[in-house]
Structures are given as structure tokens and as C-alpha cells.
């Protein structure tokens, strides 16, 4: 893979593609003994990436700067937590990236699902099947942690299904109301 300039067999030099919020970067690794350099975007920095004993967490020294990061797998991508923020990063082998670029995607469009953002209790459903809702119109109220949260339709359209009754406990992500988007 990559440039076959490996000095010492395993991992001496390799390359990966990483993508974060549209930023698409090639990272090349060069290992020499116990030291490791990264080349990316025309720069070259020494890296020391050490798994800490306390969970899925690393200490990363990159060009001397010290960072503590958590990296965890989230389905097809990785999630990196640092300084309290979590960032989704895709990592790909260069070959895989080539293949992906020719792949097409189909999307289920035209249906909006209003879902519970977190576990809680449905205290009100404000719409009925067949009713037309406008963008921003409240459709349900979910109580969680003593606060009542009003959930609204984002795009609006016609309510095709009401999936929960009032006073029902719901889990995070559970669909409450389906709305067929106007025009689709």
C-alpha cells in the first residue's frame, strides 16, 4: 500500500484518508524505531500516541502539544472527544476511498419523523392523523428531567401516522409522529 518505502516491515510507513466536517486529509505515517512522524497537508510533525490506563483514552503529543482524546467507534466512523466536544471523523484506506467515490446513494426523501430526543414521558400530542402542519408547528410535548419539551415539525406537511399516545414513556430516538412532506 501507499509508497512501499517501509524500512522495517510493519507499520514503518503507511497512509490513511481522514475526513472531518468536509475537511479531507491524507495522513502519512513514518515510523523510525520507537518514534513516529505524521505528514499531512504539507507539514511533518512528530507524534506520540499513548493509550492511557483509564478507558478508551489516549494521550497525544503532537509536535510537543499535549492533548487528551477519547476515540470511539460509532458504526462506520470514529468519534473523537477532546476538550468536552465530540467530533465525527471518517477514516479510510486510500483504496477504499477510490472505490467509494464511484458509489451512488439512494435516499428516502419526503418523510419527516418527529422523534423523542431523549427518554421521557409524552405529556401531550398536539396533532391527529391527516392533519396538515406548518413548519415549526408544535406536535408533541415530552417531559424529561422535570422540564417539558415541545417538539415541532421542521418541514411540515400532512401527518400520516401518530405512533404514541399521551402518558406513554418513550425512549430516545423513538418515533412519535410521521409527516409526509408537502410536495413529495
Amino acid at each position: 500500500m501507499g509508497r512501499a518505502t517501509a524500512r522495517s516491515g510493519l507499520g514503518a510507513s503507511m497512509k490513511l484518508w481522514v475526513t472531518l466536517a468536509g475537511r479531507d486529509t491524507e495522513v502519512e505515517f513514518h515510523a523510525e524505531g520507537s518514534r513516529l512522524w505524521l505528514e499531512f497537508e504539507g507539514r511533518r510533525l512528530e507524534a506520540d500516541f499513548r493509550r492511557l490506563p483509564d478507558g478508551e483514552v489516549y494521550s497525544l503529543l503532537i509536535g510537543g502539544r499535549s492533548h487528551e482524546v477519547r476515540v470511539s467507534s460509532a458504526g462506520s466512523h470514529l468519534e473523537v472527544t477532546l476538550d468536552g466536544a465530540t467530533l465525527p471523523v471518517e477514516v479510510r484506506h486510500p483504496l477504499e476511498k477510490m472505490l467509494q467515490s464511484v458509489e451512488a446513494r439512494s435516499r428516502v426523501a419526503g418523510v419527516e419523523i418527529v422523534a423523542a430526543p431523549m427518554p421521557g414521558l409524552v405529556v401531550a400530542v398536539r396533532v391527529k392523523t391527516g392533519e396538515t402542519v406548518t413548519p415549526g408547528q408544535p406536535v408533541a410535548v415530552v417531559e424529561a428531567m422535570k422540564m417539558q419539551n415541545e417538539l415541532s415539525a421542521r418541514h411540515g406537511g400532512v401527518v400520516t401516522e401518530v405512533l404514541v399516545a399521551e402518558r406513554t414513556a418513550v425512549s430516545a430516538g423513538q418515533a412519535l409522529v410521521k409527516i409526509s412532506q408537502a410536495g413529495s
Binding site: 490513511l16 507524534a47 468536552g84 427518554p119 428531567m145
Partner: protein, 498 residues
Amino acid sequence: MLIANRGEIAVRVIRTLRELDITSIAVFSEPDREALHVLLADEAYPIGPGPASESYLHLECVIETARRTRADAIHPGYGFFAENAVFARACADAGLAFIGPPPEVIARLGDKLSAREVAAQAGAALVPASPQALTSLTDARSFADRAGYPILLKAALGGGGKGMRMVARQDELQAAWELARGEARAAFGDERLYAERYLERPRHVEAQILADASGRVTFLGERECSIQRRHQKLLEETPCFGLDERTRAALGETACRIAQAAGYRSAGTVEFLLDSDGRFYFLEVNTRLQVEHPVTEMTTGLDLVAEQIRIAEGGATSFGDQPPAPRGWAMEARILAEDPTAHFMPSVGPVARLRAPQGPGVRNDSGIYRGYQVPVFYDSLLAKLVVWAPDREGARRRLLRALDEYVLEGLHHNLVFHRWLVAHPRFVSGDLSTRFLDQHFRPSELAPGGDASEVALLAAALHARQERIAVTLPDGDGRRGSAWRWAEPRRAPGSGRR
């Protein structure tokens, strides 16, 4: 002493009891079996299932547990029964000392309308408000028409922002009315609302008072609590920046007069709105220990829970007639299980990793520990981060340092919000009001900067490389094959090997 509460405040009370050599008795609901207050108390007893109404708010069960465990007294913390006169009376009837003011004082000040009467009689200025509870939406509409929009709807028994809604225009009134009533019913079992005129850019300033068993009232300094979201305080400090000595003294005197007029005992807080012209208006009295009491403890050196207990025992305060002069500056950031990047949506989950900040001038009051599972039933306060320094800028920098140092993983929380807030130029300059977030907060500003993105990119690449190596297997010809760890099936047969 039995502590009829949970979370950080139960832990807070247990600490003082231990220092005073008083046996601490915790109670817990089923999902709280592993909560920190259960672990730290001397004794702990179950009182029912998760919903507060069946456990922490189950009056008979709490009183019966106190009786069975031969407690002499009950500390209610804040929330739950803290401002419930019926509970305070039930304690007295059961021969238990209630750590707080007498039931009739709670009843009189707990009802916002009679509290306003007391305050008015004591000479405090009031924000124009409906003279009694609104009986209907029509009532609310006619008050608003008289006083002018915006108005504020508030639960008669409210507190902590529950059952409170700002109404900017007439066409918002009906929806707000219903939401506020729903919340008031759910939180306090009483759906009565009242309304008041909404000031444009007020600051929320409150006076900490302590009334001893003989009725002597001491003012222990004010707290600035303007940083709020939906009437929920997020960050508090003491003293109040820019408050001149004359206004501070007047505020303290007014608070003491109100407490005296009400026959107050124990620790209490008189809340005011401070207008931009320096005038202040009585808001309400919180007849309990406040969430934000630690900032006052930092500047005065007092333990307010210990003072409450001394007073309940019929004694004087520890300082008699020489209250300590407040020293330096303290700030408190409420660490909540809420995601500030997603409309402050509450979050539950395990505390996967925790390393609280330490070092000079830092106090943690927390109800969590590593591995603890935050339950869905209660409010979202995980911990309070409190700092002290000789001056405001020192405290601000210390708070920022402590926030930077805070490691809390496994659930969403508002640490990035506090970092944004404490670094905000308007916060730095002390230009605060209860509208601060409306005016300045944009969730997009919480997005991590360019440096963080770069570090995340490289960390992900390094992790991928390392995990890949970690699962490599020998391959016959001396080279190695490797498998990717994460779930997505590889598309190219060669891409998983090298």
C-alpha cells in the same frame, strides 16, 4: 439526622453532619441505590420507586423512615420538600426538627402573592404584578393588557424556573399559559399561576440571610445570578460586580427587614431584580438553602448547613453579632447533564470517565462518580464547580482553568457552554443581565476551533493505525494481514489487508 434529598445537596449535607459528628441517614429511590449520597451516608434506607412523587416526595414514607430510624431531625436540602409547609408541619407533628424556617413562615413566603405582601409591608419595592392568582386565561390577558407586554407567567408555588414562561406578545399567551400550568401541576401539584411585568435588562441579585433562633437576622452578602436559561440559573458569583456600597447595604437591609417581618428563622435568600438604574425590586424569598450557597461560603468562610443546624437546635450562629466580612470573589458553574449544542437537551447515561479539577481555590460539590449512571427521573444538576480568588478576574481565570481541566465523559454536559460563557468579553467586563444568553448565546460559537479539528483528525488516524496493528495476525510469508475493527464491511477485498 435524615436527609430527605438526593444528589449533590444530599452529599453536601452529609459532609457537614460528619464534621459535626451527627449520624447521617440517607433515603433513596430504587434507581438511586448506587447514588453517591447512599455510599457516603452513615445509614441509607429505600423509600420507593424512581418517580419523585413515589419516593422523595412521598411524605408519609419519608416521615415514617425518619421515625423508624430514630432520627431527631430532617434536612430537606433544596427542591422536593424544602419549601413545603405541609411537610415541615408533618415533621413537627412527628417530633422531628425540620431544618429550615417554621411551617407558617414557609407557607407565608412560599406563596408568591403573600410573600409580596410581606415585602411591601417591609418597605421593599415590587415589580408590577397581578394582585392574586390568575383564575383564567382571560384574567391573564387582562393583566397583560394593563401592565403591557412582555409579561412573565409564574407558578404560585414555583421555584427553579419550573412553571415559568415569558410572554412577549399576545399571540404567545395561550400556549405559554398551558405549558406553564402543566409544569406547575407536574412540579408542585398546584397549577395556580400569577403574572408580572417583565423588566427589560435586569440583573438577578439575591441576598443571603441567616436568622438565628432568637430572630436576629444577619446579611451575609449578595449573589449575582443573572446568567440564566429559561429562568434556570447557570452561573452565580459573589459579590455582585459594580454594585456600589450604598446599594449593597440597602439591599441587605431590605432583605433583613423582610425576614424580620416574616418571623424568619434559619438560612434564607431574598431575591431581587436589579434594574440598570440601580433600583432593585423584590422578587421572592427562597425559604431554604440555595443551590448556589457555596459562593457565599467561599467568601465568608462559613458552613451554612452547620449554621442551619445550630439554629434548629435553638442556638445562635457561630459568629454571634460579628459576621465575617466577605473576602475575595467566588463563582459557581452548574455542571448540568444538558447538551448546549442541541437546545440544552437533557442527557442521561453513565459517567464513563471523570477527573474533576483540583488545586488552589477550587471546590467541587458533586453527586456523581466514575461509573455512576445518571438516572432519568431527577433534575440535570451533576455537580457544582466553585472557585475563589482575591478578585473577580482572578476567579474568572481560575474558573476557566478549572473548566479546561474538567474531564467528564459518557453523557452530554454543559462544560463547553461554561467555557464559552466565562471567556465571553461581555462576561469578562461584567456586563450581565438575565437576558445575557438571549443576547449573546449562539450555539454555533460552541463548535471547537480549527486546532481541535486538526487534533481530532490526527487522533482518529493514529487510532485507526494502532487498532489495526493491534489486531494484525501472522500471515505465512512473514508479512502480516490486518483487519479493521469497526463494523462497516470493507468493500474492496484487498483493503483490509496489506
